[in-house]
């Protein structure tokens, strides 16, 4: 079936043959029979750019592989198929008092996608990224065989090339993940409203270590001394004793309402300077400083998950997320990027700033020690030029882009940002010499 596919940003749609294999054998056959334009796996389509689409080729819809095969409560391990969403996984784990250690900004991603993008969450400074918690994975490779890979020992190079490898080493079919015990599904949250960017950076630098989760939102529409004013939210998992009596009756409750779904009729341009400013003002005002507040998962971790298809709010032209990391020493680049966006006339309402902890062994894994900043920008004339300028700042400071969000940079920028790129490339070439696995992103960035 020919289907038009795009990423979550709804930019650059292309058409591919979308196939939903029933079982691993069917998936293997599709890979073996692939032709010139290749195959790529796709989960829930939450990557912002083009890594899960494949113009003129085949896209494997993995969402049918949605079985949670085994939860080993005592060993704190879970064996899942790659198409299982983190939402489904969390719902299955909570009744056992278990928790996936890494949750990105949405639960609507698959395990396969989380591995391929090596996603991170607000707890990166403590727990690392998704790949750090994979004990083993089954990879369908270009020759049609399935290899079981582990982080150490034989096959570990392919394991780490698959973590963060954007689906280009093969198709993750199944994985065993390490999970962590929790007493409740709640968080004890400290919210601090902060007047400007410098203060925001300083507070996160001072005592992030006291929290399991830490992230800040900041305003790029306020100018002058209030530039980068923001809201810092940091939290730890709530223990039973932290909960008010009312919540103690069902401490592992999972509340994820879907309040509304955005219809696909909105025009582009709804987010402009006026609405962007109003939204930012509102967001800033609604978050007064408060310590020790008990919040549920949705409110603390995934506020956007209550709105279905929220990306439609940006209209048919779509939007992009610009996310980068720079070393701590280059904190000045964070300031300059914020100033440059504020003065550009482009508007971003959802801006996130966070400190990363150490990175992992995967050559294309995004996180490294430093500041990561993420902004949402609707596509408008001049956006390409603005992002090109930001690229120079970021790459010049030894930073890099997050490929799960990437949608417009150059092949050269990826090579500059990821010094171990050629090492990854060599592993990919050894396991897929003919380039069976291909995506719009791999063609665009020559991955």
């Amino acid at each position: 079936m020919l289907v038009r596919l795009s990423g979550w940003g709804r930019t650059a749609p292309t058409v591919a043959r979308l196939v939903s294999p029933r079982d691993y054998q069917a998936a293997a056959n599709i890979v073996k029979e692939s032709r010139e334009r290749g195959v790529i796996a796709r989960g829930l389509g939450r990557s912002y750019g083009d890594p899960a689409q494949n113009a003129g080729g085949v896209v494997l819809d993995m969402t049918r592989f949605d079985r949670i095969r085994r939860i080993a409560v005592d060993d704190r391990l879970v064996d899942v198929e790659a198409g299982v969403s983190l939402d489904a996984l969390m719902r299955a784990l909570l009744p056992h008092g278990l928790w996936p250690p890494v949750l990105p900004g949405t639960r609507q991603v698959t395990v396969g996608g989380a591995i391929a993008a090596d996603v991170h969450g607000k707890g990166h400074h403590v727990v690392g990224s998704f790949g750090d918690h994979v004990r083993s994975l089954d990879l369908l490779t270009a020759d049609g065989s399935v290899r079981t890979l582990t982080p150490d020992g034989a096959g570990s190079a392919l394991f780490w090339a698959t973590v963060g490898g954007m689906g280009l080493t093969g198709v993750v079919l199944r994985a065993t993940l390490r999970v962590v015990p929790v007493e409740t599904s709640y968080f004890v949250v400290d919210t601090e409203r902060v007047d400007n960017l410098d203060d925001l950076l300083a507070r996160q630098s001072a005592d992030d270590d006291r929290y399991a989760e830490s992230v800040s939102w900041f305003d790029v529409t306020a100018t002058g001394p209030r530039l980068g004013r923001g809201v810092l939210t940091r939290a730890n998992h709530a223990t039973l004793r932290d909960l008010p009596r009312k919540l103690r009756r069902d401490p592992l409750a999972f509340d994820a309402p879907r309040l509304l779904t955005v219809p696909d009729v909105l025009p582009s341009g709804l987010l402009n300077r006026a609405t962007g400013r109003a939204f930012s003002e509102l967001w800033y005002r609604k978050s007064p400083t408060r310590y020790g507040q008990v919040q549920n998962i949705t409110r603390f971790l995934h506020p956007l998950d209550v709105i279905g298809e929220w990306n439609r709010g940006y209209g048919p032209r779509g939007f992009l997320q610009y996310q980068f990391v720079v070393p701590f020493a280059a904190v000045d680049v964070v300031r300059r990027v914020v100033e440059r966006i504020a003065s550009s006339g482009h508007v971003s309402a959802l801006n996130v700033l966070k400190r990363f902890g150490p990175g992992n062994r995967a050559p294309l894994s995004f996180p490294m020690p430093g500041w990561t900043l993420c902004v949402d920008l609707p596509v408008r004339p001049g956006l390409g030029e603005l992002c090109d300028e930001l690229d120079e700042l970021v790459l010049g400071a030894g930073g890099r882009h997050y490929l799960a969000k990437e949608s417009r940079t150059t092949a050269d920028a990826v090579r500059r940002g990821y010094p171990r790129f050629e090492e990854w490339r060599a592993v990919r070439a050894s396991v897929d010499p003919d380039g069976v696995f291909a995506s719009d992103m791999s063609r665009r960035l020559k991955l």
């Binding site: 930019t11 058409v15 334009r37 113009a55």
Partner: protein, 251 residues
């Protein structure tokens, strides 16, 4: 591939010495360096365009292309696609001719029809097949407002543009489910070599202004645009004028 903000990685210009098309190429090659294929008859102008782009660090190849020699078009396109896919293909060739000669001189009339219509259809079919295989890409067809309501003063040219405009609009509908966008661009009077010596009509523009419209249209995946944009309203009004009134308008 075309990225999220509309940067293509490869361009093909059919009619590679067209001033509008070269203005589009300059805009696309200002910041990035996409691969460019210029298909045109060998000429000093083509050589100059190749030299200019090469000097700017743009990988460029020239392919011999004669719009009237439709039999050769499949080979021309094979050569144009030899180095990989094409993200944006501009159909930019056309002749204006002498309007009075064009409806009275057999050879002049046939040349206009063959270049502007038959040639455009010929390459359109070939581009469609190739872009369909790719599952993506944009065909930009440079039409003209002259084809939107054909005037006595240049009706042969206008009729050829009306034909190619209709063909590419229809092609866009046919290719929509295949992931290929066809963008029909209707400029008004453009100051170029082709219109040198003619009196400029109202709402005239430069090649670079038309190029800006093209670049925006490709980024926004638009299927029909006017250059400049207000011409859309003007032409909409003109389309509905009774013939008796229309023929009295100053040429």
């Amino acid at each position: 591939m075309i990225d999220a903000v509309g940067n293509p990685q490869s361009l093909l210009v059919l009619g590679g010495t067209s001033e509008i098309a070269l203005a589009v190429v300059r805009r696309y090659t200002a910041a990035r360096k996409p691969r460019v294929v210029l298909a045109a008859r060998p000429s000093p102008r083509r050589d100059a365009a190749v030299a200019e782009l090469t000097a700017a660090g743009v990988p460029v190849t020239a392919v011999d292309f004669d719009a009237r020699d439709v039999g050769s078009h499949p080979t021309v396109l094979d050569k144009a696609f030899a180095d990989g896919g094409i993200d944006v293909a501009l159909v930019a060739f056309g002749v204006l001719g002498d309007a009075e000669r064009a409806w009275q001189d057999h050879e002049a009339a046939v040349e206009l029809a063959e270049v502007n219509y038959t040639g455009a259809v010929s390459v359109g079919v070939g581009l469609a097949a190739r872009l369909r295989e790719q599952g993506h890409g944009v065909i930009v067809a440079l039409s003209s407002v002259a084809g939107e309501r054909v005037r006595r003063s240049n009706f042969v040219y206008g009729s050829t543009k009306a034909g190619m405009d209709a063909f590419y609009l229809g092609l866009g509908e046919a290719l929509r489910p295949e992931g290929v966008t066809v963008t029909v661009v209707r400029p008004g009077f453009v100051h170029t070599r082709m219109t040198d010596g003619l009196r400029a009509a109202p709402l005239s523009s430069t090649a670079d202004q038309v190029a800006a419209v093209v670049v925006n249209a490709v980024r926004d995946r638009r299927e029909l645009v006017w250059a400049p944009a207000p011409l859309r309203l003007v032409m909409s009004a003109l389309r509905h004028l009774p013939r008796a009134v229309f023929r009295r308008l100053p040429a």
